[in-house]
């Protein structure tokens, strides 16, 4: 889908995978998470522009609109159990990022 170098650490980017919008988050190093771009609370495609952080040592992504934090690994919202982001498996092969939708 893109090179690892295309992604700046701690700065989310959106990607289009077969018509589906996903949010790619690269942490320090080469760890990359992919979750849905759709913010289920704000009902807008914005999650890639959220704020990357951590809660009790687990990496999180907060919605840019209403700031609910989501666990990046599982997509679970940490402040409202009813909310959930889809999370997608990511693989880095020879510097190329691959996401399975």
């Amino acid at each position: 889908m893109c090179q690892v170098e295309d992604l700046e650490p701690m700065w989310g980017e959106a990607a289009l995978v077969e018509g589906t919008q996903i949010a790619l988050i690269r942490l320090h190093g080469e760890t990359i998470h992919a979750v849905s771009q759709w913010d289920p609370y704000a009902c807008a495609n914005v999650m890639s522009r959220g704020i990357v952080g951590s809660k009790a040592g687990r990496p999180t992504l907060a919605s840019p609109i209403h700031k609910q934090p989501y666990d990046l690994a599982t997509g679970r919202c940490l402040s409202d159990e009813a909310l959930q982001l889809r999370s997608y498996p990511v693989r880095v092969e020879a510097g190329i990022v691959e996401v399975k939708v």
């Binding site: 959106a14 990607a15 790619l24 009790a56 609109i65």
Partner: protein, 917 residues
């Protein structure tokens, strides 16, 4: 208020008549209603034309013409059980028939009557005294203010004012007049000021402090006559205050504040017992000599004394409210604690200030050079606190006052802050009174922190004040109340809101200082040094601390681009895109329009850009034009056109200076006395881009008519014929606050210097998301402290603050111009990493009043089902190639960007598609 609008319920009720509408009457009414009484009807009669107001705060009205001095919640007077009769004096009482007569000739019956007629301000008994003004009511202050201004204009020089009386009230009046630009002489019959509250050494220290502030003093003499020459030419004064054994004092205006005279005339003529020195005699239940008639406040005389302070008035009101509701409360005596409310003059005393208790010991710190005097009075065994006097530095006052009559937790000397005594942690017992105005004890504050089933706990001072009313009258107890609240929060395991979030144990101000001291420049470094945990791999921060760190770094390294490597990822939603994200994920674009001044040509560019990109357009509340609905990938293109036309970022997205609102001022307006537009532009261009704890708004008005509403701004500047008055801490929004006067008649350079210092001090010390109004409210000492720091440079950091601001001003660069210059930075504005120009297909709009707005979820659903409005979706025009072309043209040299665009105009018309989302 018209009684007919709130007809009282019809069934038989007890009728309580309250005569007088000052703070005592207010407190009584409030206390009765709060008990939610059944079958009670309360009529309040006041001869003044306004509802009861806070007389204690009267001096505020000198600086703020429209301050209504609200006392409690005005909804009290709307309560159907209460009838307020303003402009209605009660002229006679009949104890036998239980009736009263009003000045309008009405005769009304009552079951209980409470006298709360207060007192009046006497004039000295000398010839010519009818020309002497007094200082007691709203009308008095309004008159003094008008008169001082008129005199200034008529005479073409500052008015000379003589204030007779150097007590609490006289000094306040003197301060108010001096604030209006008058030359003030205080005439006092004793050798030192405030002799009723302060002992000789403290008083003499106070004398010197006032002289240093430019007051003239005439001490040790009483005037014998006021000579009047109304025809006097401007160089001379109309009045001459004559003294038996001292030179005459010429004055254009003479004000007396020599004490209080209880307004017991109504009671006396009704045959009630009155005290020799005036006042209606009451017992400890506030009952007078006549059945069913009570007296409270300054009109009441208890053990031969009428106290001129509001705390006893409030206490008496509570006693009567309790008695009228079937209780058995009684009044235990006066709290005579008093603190002078005069900017820059820290004077307070409480308890046995003169050490008159047999065997009392005094522990004193006196520094005649530094102008500080502190004294604590204790029992002969040095254990129990009896009183204290503070001049020049009254910081121990608010913590010691509640300990009056109690064991001191440490040796008395430890409480003399000026002598190096630290701030001791005082563990006050629950029943110690912290706020005497509102009679709030430490225990009440502690239980408010915890809250209960019906009310949430209070964990900041704003909530604490509105919940318990602590500190809402004279305000002198706020520092102590805050300390108790925080100690209680700690003991309940609550976060004393200092820690930013789980990632940092510091407050914003602490982190600011730490980062400044260590010169760290990146989030990773800061986390590794100060984070919890201090491990940059585990501690990635969050939406709270990252923007705070970004703002701290931006304020300290102003010269650098805010999205520079590493710092871009710290920014909050809006800063990240240098635009404001809206609910559907698109952005609004708001170029800076300094001072609200714009040429028609530039306005046209805005119109063209908005039309070409089909942006919803609205004039913002801040004298600018806001354009909505720009997609992330469109921002650079929009801004290229705006930057080329000479616009720059308006920082509407940042916690920074937003705008400086200005009126048209002296260049066009008939009334203007200074060029407010020029000053507005100058301020906006000076402080633009400075990152701060919260957004800041400034305002500049060209004359006192205040069309720019500058006093509702963080910094408000109002023109005077001499220069500018500077107000600080104003706020519109949800909790409005009027700006408070910081300094008067400043020239341009001094104004800028003070604003530099003020704003930088705020940037360094405020909490995250704390507007200046709340910041000053929480700051111990409030506006007085800010005045000391900014105007008097009491912390000696003025130069440092100015230098920090100069660094910002010199390093300022428009963020959008900086972005457009650099392809690396532009990369961040791609919509998709693998399809940089593809628009978000989820956007859908509805046309309303000729412009588009985001469709609601319901509208999207309806459209998909085929019924509902037509939606506009899916913009189609890719814009990237074209930008790349422009950039190439630029790089190749000199192609006018407008030409580059020409081949490919930028229509962005949305395709009308039915029901696709």
């Amino acid at each position: 208020m018209d009684a007919s609008t709130h007809p009282a319920p019809a069934e038989a009720q007890r009728h309580i008549a309250v005569v007088g509408g000052g703070p005592a009457a207010h407190r009584l009414t409030e206390a009765l209603i709060s008990r939610d009484p059944a079958g009670l009807r309360i009529s309040v009669f006041t001869e003044e034309s306004s509802a009861p107001y806070d007389r204690v705060a009267l001096s505020r009205r000198f600086a703020q013409v429209d301050d209504e001095l609200l006392l409690g919640d005005p909804a009290l007077w709307e309560d159907p059980r209460v009838q307020l009769h303003t402009g209605t004096a009660v002229t006679a009482l009949d104890v036998e028939s239980k009736t009263l007569r009003t000045a309008h000739g009405e005769v009304l019956g009552f079951d209980e009557l409470v006298l709360a007629t207060g007192s009046s301000a006497p004039r000295p008994p000398i010839e010519g005294s009818e020309h002497i003004a007094v200082y007691r009511t709203l009308e008095d202050v309004d008159w003094l203010r008008r008169r001082a201004a008129e005199l200034g204009e008529e005479l073409g020089r500052p008015a000379r004012c003589a204030v007779i009386g150097g007590g609490l009230l006289g000094l306040e009046a003197a301060g108010g007049l001096k604030g209006l630009g008058a030359e003030v002489t205080v005439v006092h019959s004793r050798a030192w000021l405030m002799n009723a509250q302060v002992d000789e050494y403290g008083g003499r220290t106070l004398n010197r402090l006032l002289e240093q502030e430019g007051y003239r003093l005439k001490l040790g003499h009483r005037p014998s006559r006021l000579a009047v020459d109304l025809e006097a030419p401007a160089e001379r004064s109309r009045y001459t205050l004559e003294f038996a054994k001292s030179p005459d004092l010429p004055a254009d205006l003479v004000v007396a504040a020599i004490g209080i005279t209880a307004r017991d005339e109504l009671a006396a003529s009704a045959g009630l017992d009155c005290a020799e020195r005036g006042g209606v005699v009451i017992d400890e239940t506030c009952a007078t000599s006549a059945p069913n008639i009570w007296a409270i406040g300054e009109v009441a005389s208890y053990q031969g004394i009428s106290m001129g302070l509001v705390a006893p008035a409030n206490a008496m009101a509570e006693v009567v409210a309790d008695r009228l509701s079937g209780g058995a409360a009684s009044f235990i005596g006066f709290d005579t604690a008093a603190k002078l409310k005069l900017a820059g003059m820290d004077v307070a005393s409480f308890g046995d200030a003169f050490a008159e208790t047999p065997g009392a010991l005094e522990v004193v710190y006196a520094d005649a050079v530094g102008g500080i005097y502190q004294k604590i009075v204790v029992t002969d065994d040095a254990t129990t606190l009896l009183g204290g006097v503070f001049v020049g530095d009254a910081s121990p006052y608010s913590s010691l006052r509640p300990l009056l009559g109690r064991q001191l937790p440490a040796a008395p000397g430890a409480f003399l802050s000026a002598a190096g005594g630290g701030e001791l942690d005082l563990e006050l017992p629950d029943d110690a009174q912290v706020c005497s105005c509102k009679d709030i004890c430490a225990g009440t504050i502690r239980s408010a922190v915890a809250g209960d089933e019906t009310t949430p706990g209070c964990t900041d001072m704003a909530a604490m004040k509105s919940c318990t009313k602590v500190g809402t009258q004279c305000g002198s107890c706020i520092p102590m109340a805050k300390k108790i609240m925080e100690a209680q929060m700690l003991s309940l395991g609550l976060d004393v809101s200092k820690a930013l979030c789980e990632h940092f144990g510091h407050s914003r101000a602490e982190l600011f200082e730490a980062v400044r001291a260590t010169q760290l420049t990146s989030f990773t470094e800061i986390v590794s040094r100060f984070g919890t945990p201090a491990d940059a791999q585990l501690n990635l921060g969050c939406d709270i601390c990252k923007p705070v760190v970004a703002s701290i770094l931006a304020a300290q390294h102003g010269a650098e681009y805010i999205l520079e490597a590493g710092r871009g990822t710290l920014q909050d939603t809006n800063d990240r895109a240098l635009a404001n994200m809206q609910k559907d994920g698109t952005y609004s674009v708001m170029p800076r329009i300094p001072g609200g001044e714009i040429t028609p040509q530039k306005l046209k560019v805005i119109a063209e850009v908005a039309a070409d990109f089909d942006l919803y357009t609205k004039i913002s509340a801040a004298q600018r034009v806001d354009m909505f609905g720009a997609r992330l990938e469109q921002l650079p293109q929009i801004w290229r056109r705006l930057v080329d036309a000479g616009f720059e970022s308006g920082q509407a997205y940042g916690k920074a200076l937003r705008n400086v609102k200005s009126c048209v001022g002296s260049s066009w307006c008939r009334y203007g006395v200074q060029d407010s537009v020029a000053m507005g532009i100058r301020l906006e261009n000076r402080y633009r881009g400075l990152r701060s704890p919260h957004k800041m708004k400034f305002g500049v008005s060209g004359c006192a008519r205040e069309c720019a509403e500058a006093r509702a701004k963080d910094v408000g500047v109002i023109a005077t014929s001499e220069g500018w008055n500077m107000y600080v801490g104003g706020n519109g929004g949800a909790t409005p606050a009027h700006g408070q006067l910081l300094a008067k008649d400043l020239d341009d350079a001094t104004l800028l210097r003070y604003i530099d210092r003020y704003v930088m001090y705020y940037v360094r010390t405020a909490d995250r998301l704390q507007r200046t109004a709340r910041w000053m409210e929480e700051l111990p000492g409030g506006v007085d402290h800010v005045h000391d720091v900014v105007v008097k440079d009491s912390l000696g950091i003025g130069g440092d603050l100015e230098a920090a601001m100069a660094k910002h001003v010199d390093g300022y660069e428009d963020e959008w111009a900086a972005t457009l210059r650099d392809p690396e930075r532009l990369r961040r504005f791609r919509s998709f990493v693998n399809a940089p120009d593809a628009p978000d297909t989820g956007l859908a709009y509805v046309i309303e009043r000729g412009q588009r707005r985001p469709a609601t979820e319901q509208e999207k659903v309806d459209a998909a089902a085929g019924d509902g409005p037509v939606l506009l979706t899916g913009p189609r025009i890719p814009v990237r190639e074209e930008m790349a072309r422009e950039d190439a043209a630029r790089a190749a040299g000199g192609l006018d960007p407008a030409q580059a665009r020409e081949g490919a105009p930028v229509p962005n018309n949305l395709a009308a598609v039915e029901g696709r989302s």
